[in-house]
């Protein structure tokens, strides 16, 4: 616990370092927001005046200090594109990304864990082979392509699901399914590999010798140990939920943070890029802490490390 607290205490310092790195990296991007706003025909005088208006004429160091001063008060600046406060823009979008990403991971776990356990219990069977082939396909298919195919089949031809946008539960089905494919395949394979390893242990043999069925052996004894790496990976990936669904959100017209990031990079909206990136970094750091806590819970050896 003390180790976790030490890590948590270091968060502000890490965030400060990350904010400096992000600030420099964003401003090193080629492309001038003023030129992108004004369009190709705008003369240099307009571009210069816009830079002054947007505060981009200040030295980089001064811009960074100004940013830190505001960020300390919870103000991440104003969007260069529409003048809205960055925090408001992100807060509006965050629930959509968390809901979609959370649902996708829930789906992935609900299918991946039992699927992996089944494949391990029936290793070498047709069911195992079929599942392994399916995970290979699921992990290899481009999300973009699957999304368009799903839209064409279920929204355009069958009219079962809405095409895009965020609304009632039906709007979640296609994007969540598409987003869950990769983690589902990953979790299923990891569960299978972990369970296979555990099933060879002596205590499993003992459990079987006691007369427990293979399924009971797996669910009661093998899964608890086999799931440790799965839970760790899932916990680490939770940080990516904030801005990780860029393609899915773009194709499905989903008003999340990933799409906001893409649009902001396109128009070089520095304050928004910065806000989203810092939030994502914070998410990853918190997910790391969570993962460490989870590992410590599953593996007593890790508690004292």
């Amino acid at each position: 616990m003390s180790r976790l607290l030490r890590r948590a205490a270091a968060l502000p310092l890490i965030m400060l370092g990350v904010s400096a790195a992000v600030f420099v990296a964003i401003h090193a991007l080629p492309g001038d927001p003023a030129r992108l706003m004004a369009g190709p025909q705008a003369p240099e005088s307009t571009i210069m005046a816009l830079r002054v208006r947007l505060g981009l004429d200040q030295p980089l160091g001064a811009q960074y200090l100004h940013f830190l001063e505001r960020a300390a008060h919870g103000d991440f600046g104003i969007s260069l594109r529409d003048g809205s406060p960055v925090s408001t823009v992100i807060v509006e979008r965050l629930p959509y990304s968390l809901a979609l990403g959370g649902l996708a991971y829930l789906l992935a776990l609900l299918v991946g864990v039992p699927g992996g356990a089944f494949a391990a219990a029936r290793e070498g069977s047709w069911g195992d082979r079929l599942l392994m082939a399916a995970t290979l396909v699921g992990a290899s298919l481009a999300g973009f392509w699957v999304a368009l195919l799903g839209m064409e089949v279920f929204a355009v031809r069958l009219r079962w699901l809405p095409l895009m946008g965020a609304g009632d539960w039906r709007h979640y089905v296609l994007p969540a399914l598409v987003l869950s494919l990769l983690p589902m395949a990953m979790i299923l394979r990891m569960t299978r590999a972990g369970a296979r390893e555990v099933l060879r242990q002596d205590y499993i043999r003992t459990a079987r010798a006691k007369g427990l069925s293979p399924w009971t052996t797996i669910t009661r004894h093998a899964l608890r140990n086999a799931l440790a790496p799965v839970v760790t990976v899932v916990a680490l990936n939770l940080g990516g939920l904030i801005s990780g669904a860029v393609v899915t959100e773009t194709v499905f017209d989903w008003p999340g943070v990933g799409r906001l990031l893409v649009d902001s990079v396109r128009y070089r909206d520095y304050p928004v890029i910065q806000g989203v990136t810092l939030l994502s970094v914070l998410g990853v750091l918190l997910a790391n802490l969570l993962a460490e806590g989870v590992i410590a819970r599953f593996d007593p050896k890790a508690r004292g490390a």
Binding site: A38, P40, T46, R53, D82, G83
Partner: protein, 513 residues
């Protein structure tokens, strides 16, 4: 029989209500990108103009035929030297916030437009042309810095739309539209939509539809699917490849209709006139001659466009049309010119291009191969492209950037098509003369044409400009791309403007819907 008659009477009585119910459903319009702002003067994007047009009005406006009509100004008159323009302001008009849109408000809006301290992104041409604006009773007087023949066209553009002084003072115009248009702003959920409802206090003819729901997707196939499912009533632009999907006889034709508008969206190639061998006008002309523009339009646009052979687009009355055979490759003439320039063995050159325009560069690569010209394509993300294309001469020389491929739309105003691209003062990085073309005679002629109010002499000057630019070929015009848009069947009154924006305020649903 009695039942039948009673039924007919009921239908007749309820028909107006049924029609109203149909029009009460919002009209959903899908674009390829979100609006960039709600401030009409602070943008130059076609999609943003589409969204803003129902909220705002300009002093004058263009109808679907391109004719200038009264807008917020009921009449206008120039001084003898055409330097002072007096606009009579329509009485009784109010902004959506309830403030009167009188001469004082119009004056303040135009003064803000030309205020250098406000630095609005879409206002540069107004700052260059307008010296000052003042109120004169119920009229507004605009004093020009120099004569400008296309001045009336400038006050039809959405950038000059009249904005509410209350919204300006409140500092909320960038994210909350406030004008006098037939629709009033309700909300802008940045990731989702812009919603507008009918302005019940509108001074003109009230719109038939109750609301507009603007949505967007960057993916062309999603736009097409949205039109088919009914998620969108109107989509713009529709990629040319989907034009055939709605052709008569196809199943999708029962759902929607594809419409086509000739557009001023010119695609062109800027040649670096400081880089060898492109510093030789003969080489540049040879490259232009070797391009089969008709094949570009057929192959890349499925025929939805027109070859562009000269500097001005066809919507400008003084534009030179493509002559016989000019839109076809003339390889022999190109070879002769290259030989004359000592480049008969060909050369290598690079072009910077954004991802959507890469197929054009690939087609040019093939068309120039017979001349021995090897074109290397540098595909770049939009921001990186801007950096490369607007780089100063020494940086372009260091990067060996020979060409930049791009497009834009500046309809009706010849000065807006010529000045940014060809005048010395607009050489990159200061402006869009990306190839650093420098010709004092062209500078003088462009100034003369902009200021000349006599149509005949102006026409002569514009023809001379186009001929000189054909000879010098600092820019190679390729084609203009038509605006394709899809409209669900049963909806009428939608049209696209020449610059590519969509006009939906007169939309109406058929009663059957």
């Amino acid at each position: 029989m009695l039942r039948f008659t009673a039924g007919l009477v009921c239908v007749a009585l309820l028909a107006p209500f049924a029609a109203r119910a149909a029009d009460d459903a919002p009209l959903t319009v899908m674009l390829s990108e979100p609006p960039r702002t709600m401030d009409p003067a602070d943008q130059n994007a076609t999609e943003t103009a589409s969204v803003l047009e129902p909220f705002y009005e300009t002093l004058l406006k263009r109808d679907a035929q391109g004719t200038i009509q009264p807008g917020l100004a009921t009449s206008w008159r120039p001084s003898a030297d055409r330097l002072v323009w007096t606009f009579s302001i329509r009485p009784g008009v109010r902004f959506h916030d309830g403030a009167p849109c009188d001469a004082a408000a119009v004056t303040r809006s135009l003064q803000r437009l030309i205020d250098r301290k406000v630095a609005l992104a879409g206002a540069s041409v107004y700052r260059a042309v307008i010296a000052s604006v003042r109120q004169d009773g119920e009229a507004v007087v605009v004093i020009l810095a120099r004569p400008y023949a296309d001045f009336l066209s400038l006050v039809t553009l959405v950038q000059s739309a009249i904005v509410s002084p209350i919204a300006v003072e409140g500092g909320e115009l960038s994210h909350r539209a406030d004008g006098t248009g037939p629709f009033r702003f309700v909300s802008w959920r940045a990731g989702e939509n812009v919603f507008a409802t009918r302005n019940r206090g509108y001074w003109g003819v009230a719109p038939a539809i109750a609301a507009i729901d603007w949505r967007w997707s960057p993916e062309p196939s999603v736009l097409n699917m949205a039109l088919q499912t009914g998620d969108a009533d109107v989509v713009i632009p529709l990629a040319p490849v989907f034009g055939r999907v709605y052709a008569p006889g196809q199943s999708a034709a029962a759902l929607a209709t594809v419409k086509r508008q000739r557009s001023a969206a010119l695609f062109w190639l800027a040649l670096n006139t400081r880089l060898k061998p492109l510093d030789d006008a003969r080489v540049r002309r040879a490259l232009s001659l070797a391009i089969d523009r008709r094949a570009l339009v057929t192959g890349l646009l499925d025929g939805f466009g027109a070859p562009a052979c000269h500097a001005l687009t066809p919507d400008v009355p003084d534009a030179l049309p493509c002559g016989a055979g000019e839109d076809r490759a003339r390889i022999d003439m190109a070879r002769a010119l290259l030989k004359e320039a000592g480049q008969e063995k060909g050369f290598s050159v690079s072009v910077v291009v954004q991802e959507p325009e890469e197929p054009i560069a690939e087609a040019l690569q093939a068309m120039w191969r017979p001349l021995g010209v090897v074109l290397s394509i540098r595909r770049q993300e939009a921001g990186v492209w801007v950096q490369s294309a607007f780089a100063p001469p020494e940086e372009k020389a260091r990067e060996e950037t020979g060409m930049a491929l791009t497009s834009w739309s500046a309809p009706y105003v010849s000065d807006l098509q010529l000045r940014p691209l060809y005048t010395t003062g607009n050489s990159a990085p200061h402006g869009a003369n990306l190839g650093f073309y420098n010709n004092a005679e062209i500078d003088r002629m462009i100034d003369a044409a902009a200021q000349d109010n006599q149509p005949a002499s102006r026409h002569e000057t514009l023809l001379a400009i186009q001929s000189t630019l054909d000879r010098d070929a600092p820019i190679v015009p390729l084609f203009t791309r038509d605006t394709l848009y899809g409209v669900r069947n049963g909806i009428s009154g939608i049209w696209a403007a020449t610059e590519g924006s969509i006009r939906v305020v007169d939309a109406r649903r058929a009663q059957a819907q």
